[in-house]
């Protein structure tokens, strides 16, 4: 950024808050109000920092955003006064003195951790940026961010609402992570991607504890590094927070930060003009160190809100392919019906199977893709910490999902067509995505490796015009079925090698397309995956739930020395061995013989004991030995569940055991169902629409009800938590449920429940509403107009059975 003197160190100011407290600001008092009530004090703090040698000061506007500020004056006036006071001090000090518009967090926790939306946070920051830029700030300083998502909102707001340089620092905990879990790598990747002008740390602790994180940051970004540590750790003395590290000690430790790569230095809580003066004199004549990390600029890192995944040229990662409706009937149906829960289960299953990144594609004809992709991306991010690959060909959907994505995403995809490059590349550059480049263009898919490399080269060159480096691309050399074109496999392998060698780009590939049209596909897929890995594939887009694929991945890494001491291979060996043995069912064939004697069958016993895996295995074994699917349902699964349900009603079985049994029954039923002819067996009853009402984010009760209902064979349309009344009505009109179940935990949200009931009753043809939740009673339920009150999840199942005519 042009405000940082090249080749020199830039000095910032120290604390504002603790300086104002020394001048009489009380705990709990709004510091920004002092811009109007005590302007001389605020200006005096700035003047003291300039006198101590600061090149720039931060305006007293830390909390002056619309989400946080509740003082007794218009915000724009507070911000303008704050910047104005710093400007006056700068002018009085003379020379080249800068003023930063200081921006702190909103004090609200963003979704999904809290209830505050990304857009609302953006709006709060945007207002502050506009006011500060108009008042004459020289740059924007975003600081003390404790949540990567909020940091993104602030940086975007700064970039989109002014043309000033943007410096951003986060407040790490002593373990090196933010409150919501992001580490230094996540912060570096996000800020690089969003094209911030400098990145670093403030607050939290003193310069001594900041050192390892500055070292880490120095190896993770080429951006100038900013440090504003506290005067040590806060200590409580006589009920007051004090900072005990004096100016000399502070300056001595801060020198180490500069030696580790920092070039913009100042102080945070507890630091004073004396600290800045000591810093200045300790660093007199010193220049920033040359940050000789040759590969910093060529790293390829994607992140979620809490985890960074680096894609290197020396190793490989798995991208989970299962959230893509192409060829997947169940997922297609789930997306069409708004059954987000199904998608989330796929996300968690792939996460736990060892995927590193998840592809998310919701392309179903007739769906409002921009709305659905946006919603699903956020929902998936709420249950997994893996980075996502946003997969769409709709540029409107892409931009909306990129904007609301938490972290630095993978973008799937751009291709060599002019139209694609001119729409996707600027979006990737703006939102900081790594882009999958498909090796096809107006001329189609080149038949040769040579042709595909040429298209990739064209895309990468075009990307440079938007500021994208070769390391910002994953080239997909395109996997065509070997059954249609015999040379396909060889062309792909050659192209993988050449892209690495000639373009220096990482690669990705949808591996399983190779076997399309052939029998025994899993074996072909795994074999080709191994070949592709050998050819240097950086990221395979694969099914991580397919045992053959994960075994191939782990075997490749173990056999090529990428798995230290074969540790991962050994750790996963039991699962790999079990998967290859699972071709034949392991459980004894006795099950079917005992099936008529329900209480004795292994399936019955496994369900009653709540053992999900055992129940599924027992069902498989029974089927393998010739048991009739329908009688397994009627004589084992349903009676076992009934036994446990009755036990719960008689208080002999507890809720967790009831749920475990229900889930075991559900697992067994899923196995049996796949063996049934399409029309027979129990079809899903219901549906039941469930929601936790607006304003309420505690959804444990609703989730328990959903789990039990589903395992009792009901189709549940789960609308999630914090659901506005209109959305419930929309589902009622669309899905004509037999029952609507609403939950609320707190007295403050029962009002929203009442409103939802009123709306459903007024606008739908007599769909009954049942309510439940900690604060509700039968009387209260009647008072707010509910048709039914159920005291627990089993009660709701019984009610649903009654309403569905069982």
């Amino acid at each position: 950024m042009d405000i940082i003197p090249s080749g020199g160190i830039m000095f910032l100011d120290g604390a504002m808050g603790t300086e104002l407290q020394a001048r009489g600001l009380a705990p709990g008092e709004c510091p920004e109000m002092w811009n109007l009530t005590h302007p001389a004090d605020v200006r005096a703090v700035h003047e003291a920092y300039f006198a101590a040698g600061a090149d720039a000061v931060y305006s007293n506007t830390f909390g002056a955003n619309a989400a946080k500020f509740h003082g007794d004056a218009p915000l724009a006036e507070i911000v303008a006064a704050g910047v104005g006071l710093a400007r006056e001090a700068a002018k009085a000090a003379g020379g080249v003195r800068r003023v930063a518009l200081d921006i702190g967090p909103t004090g609200r926790l963003l979704k999904p951790a809290g209830d505050f939306s990304f857009d609302a946070a953006y709006d709060a920051f945007a207002g502050q940026v506009q006011a500060g830029a108009a008042a004459g700030a020289d740059f924007v300083a975003i600081e003390t961010m404790g949540d990567l998502y909020e940091l993104k909102a602030a940086v975007l707001a700064a970039k989109e609402n002014c043309a000033l340089p943007v410096v951003a620092t986060v407040a790490l905990g002593e373990d090196g992570t933010l409150l919501t879990g992001a580490d230094v790598d996540c912060v570096a990747a996000l800020l690089e991607g969003l094209r911030a002008d400098a990145a670093g740390f403030n607050c939290g602790f003193g310069p001594d504890l900041m050192l390892p994180f500055v070292r880490r940051m120095s190896g993770r970004t080429a951006l100038p590094i900013v440090v504003k540590p506290n005067a040590g750790l806060p200590r409580l003395v006589d009920g007051k927070t004090v900072f005990t590290v004096g100016p000399e000690e502070f300056a001595r430790d801060a020198v180490a930060l500069v030696e580790a790569g920092a070039s913009v230095v100042g102080g945070c809580c507890g630091t004073t003009p004396a600290h800045i003066a000591a810093l200045r004199s300790a660093l007199r004549g010193k220049a920033p160190v040359a940050r000789a990390e040759p590969d910093v600029a060529s790293r390829c890192v994607v992140t979620s809100g809490s985890r960074a995944v680096e894609i290197t040229l020396g190793d490989t990662v798995m991208i989970g392919e299962r959230i893509n409706p192409t060829g997947k009937k169940k997922l297609k149906a789930a997306l069409s019906e708004g059954d987000t829960a199904y998608v989330l289960r796929e996300a968690v299953a792939q996460t736990e199977a060892g995927a590193h990144i998840l592809d998310v594609n919701v392309g179903v004809p007739g769906l409002d893709e921009p709305a659905v992709l946006d919603e699903i991306v956020q929902a998936v991010q709420s249950v997994t910490d893996l980075p996502l690959q946003i997969d769409t060909s709709d540029p409107v959907a892409l931009e909306r999902a990129l904007r609301h994505y938490n972290g630095r995403p993978l973008v799937n995809s751009v291709n060599g067509k002019e139209e694609s490059m001119s729409t996707v590349l600027p979006l990737a550059a703006k939102y900081g995505g790594v882009v999958v480049a498909l090796a096809l263009d107006e001329g189609g898919i080149p038949p040769t490796a040579e042709g595909r490399v040429a298209v990739a080269r064209k895309i990468v060159a075009r990307g440079a015009e938007y500021g994208l480096a070769p390391s910002d691309f994953l080239v997909d050399v395109l996997c065509l079925a070997v059954s249609a074109e015999a040379s396909s496999g060889a062309v792909i392998l050659e192209a993988l090698r050449r892209v690495r060698e000639e373009l220096g780009c990482r690669t990705c590939l949808g591996v399983s397309n190779i076997s399309f049209g052939l029998p025994a596909r899993p074996s072909l897929n795994a074999a080709f995956y191994t070949l592709a890995l050998g050819a240097g594939l950086s990221a395979g887009i694969v099914n991580p739930l397919a045992a053959d694929m994960t075994a191939a991945y782990r075997a490749y890494r173990a056999l090529t020395g990428r798995d230290a001491q074969c540790g991962e291979w050994i750790a996963n060996a039991p699962a790999i061995a079990a998967a290859s043995a699972a071709v034949l069912p392991a459980a004894p064939a006795k099950a079917s013989v005992d099936a008529t004697e329900a209480s004795g069958s292994p399936l019955f016993a496994a369900i009653r004991r709540g053992l999900r895996d055992d129940a599924a295995a027992a069902a498989k074994a029974a089927l393998a030995s010739g048991a009739d699917p329908l009688s397994l349902v009627n004589e084992d699964i349903v009676p076992a569940l009934e036994t446990v349900g009755k036990g719960f009603e008689e208080k002999k079985v507890f809720l967790p055991q009831l749920l475990m049994a229900a889930e075991a029954a559900g697992a067994a039923f899923a196995v049996v169902k796949s063996a049934m002819p399409a029309q027979s067996g129990r079809s899903a009853r219901g549906p039941v629409v469930m929601a936790t009402v607006k304003g309420d984010i505690h959804d444990i009760g609703k989730n328990i009800c959903r789990a039990l209902l589903e395992n009792y064979g009901f189709r549940v349309i789960d609308l999630g938590r914090d659901v506005p009344p209109e959305k419930v009505l929309e589902a009622v009109l669309r899905d004509t449920p037999k029952l609507v179940g609403l939950s609320a935990l707190m007295t403050t949200t029962v009002g929203a429940m009442e409103e939802t009931i009123r709306l459903v009753h007024a606008k739908s043809a007599g769909v009954p509403v049942a309510v439940g939740g900690a604060v509700l009673t039968e009387d209260y339920a009647v008072k707010i107009g509910a048709d039914y009150y159920t005291k627990d999840a089993m009660g709701l199942v019984r009610l649903a059975e009654r309403l569905c005519g069982d």
Binding site: E29, P105, V348, G610, I704
Partner: protein, 189 residues
């Protein structure tokens, strides 16, 4: 942070009965994962108590009503806030997506953990009391007639969003969800 599985059983309403093997294994396994997911934080601050409120910097936390009864005879009060952090909620969301039983057990684990964490906060406060002082049991907004609305002032007086990362939703729930705020009176003798 370790998990007291007995306490977890209490929150699962097992009424003193031993969990069966499958449940016991689930509790132990999820307890370990929960321990990895939490990042507990805590903050407290002492204020003078005038019999009906504590105040500082233009903020006044009204404690009239049952809270004042509870603090009868106290001349000072601590405001305190503790949390398991946002990581616990993320873990809970993940298990909830897959299993209602796991979600229920994790919920109980969280309840046991935050209670034990707050007991630790009280112990730490007790350690800084003057000779002859003692704490009365903690009292939180939402108890008796102590309104939830009071959370706003209580958390502002602790600078809770910044100090421990705890903030309020628009319906006055604390997030992260496993957080507790409280007033703890100090009495003589």
């Amino acid at each position: 942070m370790t998990v007291d599985l007995k306490e977890v059983g209490r929150y699962l309403l097992l009424h003193g009965r031993e969990p069966d093997q499958a449940l016991a294994e689930k509790m132990a396994r999820l307890g370990e994962r929960a321990s990895d997911a939490v990042r507990p934080a805590r903050v407290w601050r002492r204020f003078p108590f005038d019999g009906v409120s504590v105040s500082s910097g233009g903020l006044r936390l009204d404690l009239s009503g049952t809270a004042a009864d509870h603090l009868a005879g106290c001349r000072a009060a601590y405001l305190a806030c503790g949390t398991l952090g946002a990581g616990f909620d993320a873990f809970h969301r993940r298990v909830s997506a897959v299993s209602g039983a796991d979600a229920l057990v994790v919920q109980a684990i969280g309840a046991a953990m935050i209670e034990s964490w707050m007991d630790g906060v009280e112990d730490a406060i007790r350690a800084e009391l003057e000779q002859g002082e003692a704490l009365v049991p903690r009292y939180s907004p939402g108890y008796g007639d102590f309104p939830l609305e009071a959370q706003k002032t209580l958390l502002a007086l602790l600078d809770a969003p910044r100090s421990v990362g705890v903030s309020l939703t628009s319906s006055l729930m604390m997030v992260p969800s496993k957080s507790v705020s409280a007033v703890i009176g100090v009495k003589k003798g």
